[in-house]
């Protein structure tokens, strides 16, 4: 019965606009604070404008540097279109802090499905002393060629910070990069990793 009534005279479906950041937070401002490690302080100073410009102009997020607290603070504006912008900008800055280049980190702003994955060497294998050093060396390769090879083939960006490794890219690519890095950590020679990479990239390229 009720069903019939509703079916005969249904009210017009309301058309709601997406909520603005302000409205979501019911008029309150949202913040994000990203700490700056000391080794990234100078690069931040150098690349500030490159960071600032896309955030402020395109993402419509306020950004400032808290020198005393050594933090980058982000704040939503009333005309921020999407609440996710804030998070994206925070991620972008965070990526920069991890060690990624600005141009690489900017991709985070532009594409949704890019992520940053971090893991440590000790997560893969407990290495001590010289082994650890050698593993790190293996990962980078001579002049960083191994790392670059992985980056180029998998369309990711890798940051090796002592024992921490950060990978920036799409989910599948991260996986591939991670696998190669793990095999390198575990001791496989670079040539082997290369051959695997080649096979993988050929497969990846064929998809298109």
């Amino acid at each position: 019965m009720e069903v019939e009534n509703t079916s005969s005279s249904l009210p017009v479906k309301p058309n709601f606009q997406p909520l603005k950041a302000h409205e979501i937070s019911s008029g309150q401002v949202q913040f994000r604070k990203v700490p700056v490690p000391p080794h990234r302080y100078t690069p931040l100073k150098k690349a500030w404008m490159e960071i600032y410009t896309p955030i402020y102009d395109q993402m419509k997020i306020d950004i400032r540097m808290n020198l005393k607290g050594r933090k980058v603070e982000l704040k939503t504006r009333p005309d921020t279109p999407d609440i996710s912008n804030l998070q994206k900008c925070a991620d972008f800055v965070h990526a920069f802090m991890l060690g990624f280049d600005v141009c690489d980190a900017v991709s985070l702003l532009r594409l949704d499905e890019l992520y940053v994955e971090s893991f440590e060497i000790k997560d893969v294998k407990t290495l001590r002393g010289e082994h650890l050093s050698r593993a790190i060396g293996r990962l980078s390769g001579k002049g960083g060629k191994t790392k670059f090879a992985i980056e180029n083939s998998t369309r990711t960006r890798i940051v090796i910070a002592d024992t921490k490794i950060h990978i920036l890219g799409s989910f599948a690519n991260i996986k591939i990069a991670r696998d190669s890095l793990c095999s390198l950590i575990l001791g496989s020679p670079a040539g082997k990793v290369y051959s695997k990479l080649r096979a993988v990239t050929a497969r990846l390229a064929e998809r298109f």
């Binding site: 141009c103 690489d104 991709s107 180029n152 083939s153 920036l168 890219g169 799409s170 080649r198 298109f208």
Partner: protein, 567 residues
Amino acid sequence: MPTAAVTAGDGPETTAGREALRKLKSTDPPLYLCPSEDLSKAARLASEYLFSSLKPYTPKSPFSHLLVNGFDAEQIWQQIDLQTQPLISSLRRQVKKFEKNPEEIRNLFNLGEKDKKNDGNDVGTISNGDEKMENEEGFDEFEDEEMEGDDDDDEEEEEEEEEEEEGNAHEGKEEDGGGGGVEDNFLKIKELEEYLEEDEAREYGLKKEKKQGKRDQEDDNDKEGDDEDEDDDEDEEEEDDELGVMGVDVGEDDESGEELENARYEDFFGGKGKMGQKRKSKLLHGSDNLDMDGELSEESSDDEKNQSQKKQKLSTHEKELEKLHSTIEQMEKANLEPKTWTMQGEVTAAKRPKNSALEVDLDFEHNVRPAPVITEEVTASLEELIQKRILEGRFDDVQKPPTLPSRAPREVKELDENKSKKGLAEIYEEEYVQKSGLVSTAVSISDQQKKEAGMLFKELCLKLDALSHFHFTPKPVIEDLSIQANVPALAMEEIAPLAVSDAAMLAPEEVFTGKGDIKEDSELTQAERKRRRAKKKRKFKAVAAKRMANKVQHSSLQNRVDGNEES
């Protein structure tokens, strides 16, 4: 036989001779043991008388009368022998004749009847002959012992024997021919027969004795006195060294004429049964001085010698036959046995004896040229050639054949080991753009200019090929991502109607829709066939079940709708 000749002759000499004979006869045998001149003289006279009396019957005798004075006993004996030898043979002939034709005896006796007067003498002589026949054997025994002293006596005795024999023969015949009515004649005929038989028996007996023992006896004389057949046979004996002849002679004596005409192989080369006996006698002939005792010991070894001497006795024909047979046998034997390894076909090392291939002269083809002998000249020539080539710079290097590109080399994405110049964002940007197709970019990641150059060159080549129809060169297949319709090339119009192969078209494996190893129904095994059927059934069942489910759903929907409509 003229008996008148006996009575005729010189009166005084004959009487003297007769006197001498009588004297000899009358003397006692023991008196002969010691030599006496009277006896010897008497003996000589008697011999002379006998000789001369016998002379008419021996035309061939070289002596007109017996030469006695100043001659040795041996010499006298020889003279007598010379005379009597042919005489005996002639006598034998006569006896044989009489055997065949008894009528002639009658004739003789008819002749003899005229001389009945002499019969008394003859009878006396016959009786004397009989006595002397009896004495003959006694004389025979004494012969050997009285060789030296009583040679003359012996001769005389022998002569007497012979004469007696002759006389007997003559007189026997005469009396038989005289007529059957007379008892004496009848008896004499019988006597004659008996005598003949005896004589024959003696001959045969003597012959047997010979086989067993000595040959230098009267048998010799008997034999030699026989007919021509025997002479021939003897000759044959001497030539062929066969005793069989003698035995044959024994048989042939009766049928000599017939045998000669139908002489067969066996007659000449004797039956095997007779060989044994004759072998023995032959052997013992060879060794003259064998005793009877010695003969017995040899009989045992005769069997062996028989066979060996049988072979000796084979004719040339038989020998050849034997040889032939033996060779045939050998060959047959060889054929039955397995062949030697050299005659067999393919022989491995295991099938032939060790190192046997070394002994055999093997001949096989060498397919390899023999290695060249390196001499100074050869090395010099080689070095010359090398130097020349070096100067020219013409080396016979092996050149790899150019490999035709079967397909375009795949764009190998090389691992760039340098820091990428583009930022990550830019890369993704490009990727996105490609995906969306806003900007048409090259499929393969290669230099734009290179691509352009390649395309231009291909066009040029195509035009050139079009100009030369006869030497068709197919276009190199380049893998493109462009979609190709599975249409024969002729359907698409080209610049020139080249006989282009549809290599650019889809290949069979591309056309093929299916997976795995396709087997025809005939190739399947029973199990495979069952498997296929089971699979088909399962599929069918699944489809059927689905259909049923759909039907049910549909029907339920229908019901619902109907239900809705109804309500």
